[in-house]
């Protein structure tokens, strides 16, 4: 065991955990967060996605020791039901979910990508989401929601590919 420092959704934590533990288990069990979820444990589906340093990270294949001191944002770190983040609001507006299990992957991957590439084309956004899986197959609505969010942050017409 070792003491690992982490900041999660703005709160600092010092956690006494096995340093080989994947970050996901620290978030979902030690910190009892509900956003990041176990999907595959292999980095293949995105359900465990969090944002670290502006990038979407697969927390199921990221050992907690490798992100010591990091600032981690989970889905619940973006906004709340009463005050959702604009990308979350876009998903509400489009009713872009069914079971909702994939949403950390979809929303956080899209947000991190768009933060770095605000002028991305539809094709580039789709490519950025290629490693995310939604088995209810809600992608038509999800891409509408992401486009709605892009329109809001860019305040202008979208570049179509």
């Amino acid at each position: 065991m070792a003491i690992i420092s982490l900041t999660v959704n703005g709160r600092a934590h010092a956690l006494d955990v096995d340093p080989t533990t994947p970050l996901l288990y620290v978030l979902s069990d030690d910190l009892q967060l509900r956003g990041p979820k176990f999907g595959c444990g292999l980095g293949q589906c995105g359900a465990c996605t969090v944002i670290i340093g502006g990038r979407a990270v697969r927390s199921c294949v990221t050992s907690v020791s490798s992100v010591t001191g990091a600032d981690v944002t989970t889905l619940e770190g973006l906004g709340t039901p009463a005050k959702p983040h604009p990308i979350q609001q876009a998903f509400i507006d489009e009713q872009a979910a069914q079971c909702g299990f994939c949403l950390s992957g979809v929303i956080l991957t899209a947000k991190a990508f768009l933060d770095q590439n605000p002028k991305a084309t539809d094709a580039e956004i789709r490519e950025a989401l290629s490693g995310v899986l939604c088995r209810c197959f809600v992608q038509v609505r999800m891409f509408k929601a992401i486009n709605r969010y892009v329109a809001r942050i860019s305040n202008g017409p979208r570049i179509k590919d």
Partner: protein, 777 residues
């Protein structure tokens, strides 16, 4: 009312019953029948329930608190498809209250009536027609108005209900609220079969696209899934499955994990092996390290020749329909056309692996489970734990979308067995491999079609013979061996008794869509089919599967419909008829005809035979195809038009546009229905284009998302247009499995239209398309 896990755990610790809890929380309570035995409440999906909650009593379905909050109790749970919100709409509508005032408790054997399994697109027909929850809400409204009439001294006709206030429209000072009428008391009456549902002309909540009430919590990561449930003292379990199908446990070396941190116990029971640790990562490491010795498995039939293998096995045969004159009619036919269609095993492949929490201590057990079958799971878990069913409580908790029986039931048994072994609460979450290698797959199918045509090209006889493979399935109320954990602890799956000479059918049941839409479906003097062909025979063979199988979204129906709707297309092409015109020539059901016409009109269908003129599969070719069905023979009319591009060089299919039309009677939520149409169509596309379970000599080899291919988010997704046909005067039907039933057929037909090549085997992989195009030259 959604209790948090903490609240539920606290309740359970205190031994508080629902009766007591609701009294404490100011709500009313369910009624308990005198004998403690209820009559099942669902539409034909319940077994020998021994529930204490009497579905014939209004208080079992609805409670109204003094503050006017209405709590509904339903046995149909939210699986991610919007049934929670739809049922809230139903209650709000019937009682004329805002949806914010409605709470809904779902699928908890201590709280809700036994409605069997939430499956088969049956939640809407079961609860939105004039029985069960719908009847309860109507009974409640009528009762409240009667009581208000007496209390206010105002005749019923002069009373109006607005937001839970009943008021005389002659003298508005005469008014009383629901809460005042009941004053914290129960209704204490039976459901009134004569209570009238509110006329659809008066609807203000049903029939509207009400946003899902759970959406804000979902998108902000605050919704509690079963994966998030934590109870005091909870440990983490992990199962160790056999390395091969049929392998049996020889020995477990507990010393192999002795030095690992957090190990609480190694559990072995018959062929079931698991470890329990303090923390999840410790359990994963211990399960990986645990040395177990297994016997060699059963040699599996070769995948390459599996469809032929299916034809040669002893089978249980069922005659779905037989007019008795098929052979003689075929002998007189001008032309006989034959084709064979093939469909692989596919998996549910939930994004989240299955998870459950069990707390088994002494003679009591509580299971938090994402099961579709709370009451059945209670009874089968009791069998596994050797407890009476009344000592087991199953509480439904949201899971990852299941699409049928994924690992939800089996992982509930895993958690129960491990918890009983350690006497503390245990949470089990399966690994990706354990989920995929051992789930109850969707059935593989071989379908032989043989049709006779007359001189004009009209069908005179349709003969269909199918082979499917099955093992286990839903455990129901008494067969836990139907899923892997039950079998591993030594309980047998339901036996498949071969039967070579099936009895004549006594009624026409097209619940598996085994009969094509174009036959009359006559048994005796009654004809239940949607078509016109009089000479008809459908014979279904079921063989024992080497793998567990079970319902996967549109079970049997998708496979049969793929074969029927592609074959009708072949026949149309054979006689050079337009695929729509040819279908209409053989259809009789006016609603199926209407959905078909609605879809082709919206799609801008170009009327002509397939394939399109001058199609040369050289580079990129385009085509259109369609399919239609009355889902389950009685539960949702749907038609789907697909537009595709096929790249000949690569064999890739790009579906550019899907146009669906649907008639499920009255529409509860148009947007909710569209969401199901869209998701179903794309899930159908994923299954049509890429999904197939694979195996080697001893084990399943599709064990993750590299080896089982799901349609990627980066794939070009088609534009999806939906035409909703609202028929509020008709019975309510299900809308969750309609388009998925049609996608493979519509896309296959469009590929034929584009290329002139008929693909008769799912999935339509690039290799398969390329090979088919090459054969054509």
């Amino acid at each position: 009312m959604r209790l948090t896990s903490e609240a539920r755990a606290a309740l359970d610790r205190e031994g508080l019953s629902r009766r007591e809890f609701l009294r404490h929380s100011g709500l009313l309570i369910v009624s308990f029948s005198a004998m403690g035995v209820s009559s099942p409440a669902s539409g034909g999906q319940t077994g020998a329930a021994a529930a204490g909650i009497d579905a014939g009593q209004l208080d079992s379905w609805l409670a109204i608190a003094a503050d006017g909050t209405v709590t509904g109790y339903t046995g149909k749970c939210e699986l991610g498809q919007g049934m929670h919100t739809a049922q809230v709409q139903l209650i709000a509508e019937e009682l004329s209250i805002p949806i914010e005032r409605v709470r809904l408790a779902e699928c908890d054997t201590a709280v809700t009536p036994d409605q069997g399994t939430t499956s088969g697109s049956q939640s809407t027909p079961t609860n939105f027609n004039s029985r069960n929850l719908g009847l309860a809400a109507a009974t409640a409204r009528e009762t409240l108005i009667q009581r208000a009439s007496r209390r206010l001294g105002v005749v019923r006709d002069q009373l109006t209900v607005v937001e839970g206030m009943i008021t005389s429209h002659i003298d508005p000072s005469k008014t009383v609220s629901y809460g005042e009428i009941l004053a914290g008391e129960r209704f204490s009456i039976a459901l009134d079969v004569n209570a009238k549902r509110k006329p659809h002309q008066e609807w203000t909540v049903l029939g509207r696209s009400v946003p899902r009430v759970d959406m804000p919590a979902m998108v902000t990561g605050q919704l509690e899934y079963v994966q998030n449930i934590r109870v005091d003292g909870m440990l983490h379990g992990r199962v160790v499955r056999p390395p091969a199908i049929g392998a049996t446990l020889v020995n477990v070396d507990e010393r192999s994990v002795a030095g690992l941190p957090g190990v609480v116990k190694v559990v072995a029971r018959h062929n079931f092996v698991g470890v329990v640790c303090e923390k999840p990562w410790q359990a994963i490491r211990a399960a990986r390290a645990l040395k177990a010795t297994w016997s060699p498995g059963t040699k599996l039939p070769a995948q390459a020749t599996f469809y032929d293998h299916m034809r040669r096995q002893p089978s249980r045969d069922t005659l779905v329909v037989d007019s008795g004159d098929v052979e003689s009619t075929l002998r007189q036919a001008a032309t006989i056309v034959r084709a064979t269609y093939l469909h692989p095993y596919q998996m549910h492949g939930s994004v989240g692996t299955s998870c459950a929490v069990a707390d088994v201590r002494g003679d009591r057990a509580t299971i938090w489970s994402p099961t579709q079958s709370a009451y059945p799971l209670r009874n089968t878990t009791a069998m596994i734990l050797n407890l009476p069913p009344a000592s087991v409580r199953v509480i439904y908790a949201r899971g990852s979308g299941c699409y049928g029986i994924n690992g939800a039931d089996t992982v509930s048994y895993d958690a129960a067995v491990l918890s009983q072994a350690v006497g503390r609460p245990v949470r089990v979450q399966l690994s990706r491999q354990d989920e995929m290698a051992w789930e109850n797959y969707g059935y593989p199918y071989v379908v032989d079609q043989r049709v006779g045509l007359d001189e004009a090209g009209t069908i005179v006889a349709w003969d269909c013979e199918t082979w499917s493979a099955a093992l286990g399935g839903r455990p129901g109320y008494g067969t836990p061996g139907n899923v892997v954990t039950g079998a591993l602890i030594g309980l047998q799956p339901a036996a498949l008794e071969p039967r070579a000479n099936p009895p004549a059918p006594t009624s026409f049941n097209n619940g598996s869509n085994a009969a094509p839409s174009y036959v009359r479906g006559c048994v005796g003097a009654t004809c239940g089919g949607t078509g016109a062909v009089k000479s008809e025979r459908v014979l279904a063979h079921t063989i024992r599967s080497p793998f567990f199988t079970g319902p996967l979204r549109s079970p049997n129906r998708l496979q049969n419909t793929f074969a029927h709707e592609c074959f009708i297309d072949e026949l149309a092409a054979r006689v050079k008829a337009d695929p729509v015109e040819y279908r209409l020539r053989h259809l009789k059901d006016p609603r199926l005809i209407d959905v078909l016409k609605a879809a082709v009109n919206a799609a801008g269908w170009d009327t002509r035979p397939s394939p399109g003129p001058g199609r040369q599969p050289t580079s990129l070719v385009s085509g259109r195809g369609l399919a239609c069905v009355l889902y389950e023979g009685d539960n949702g009319y749907c038609a789907l038009v697909a537009f595709v591009n096929v790249i000949a060089a690569t064999g890739q299919i790009a579906v550019t546009r899907l146009v669906a039309s649907q008639d499920c009677g009255p529409i509860s939520s148009p947007d909710g229905m569209r969401n199901q149409i869209e998701g179903g169509a794309l899930q159908g596309l994923s299954r049509a284009l890429g999904e197939a379970v694979t195996w080697d000599d001893t084990k399943v080899t599709s064990i993750d998302w590299q080896t089982y291919r799901s349609l990627s988010m980066s794939a070009d997704v088609p534009v999806i247009e939906s035409v909703l046909i609202d028929r509020p005067e008709e019975a309510a039907m299900g809308a969750g499995e309609t388009t998925i039933t049609l996608t493979a057929a519509a896309v296959g037909n469009a590929v034929f239209d584009a290329t002139g090549v008929r693909i008769r085997e799912v999935p339509f992989t690039p290799d398969r398309i390329r090979a088919a195009l090459a054969t054509r030259g």
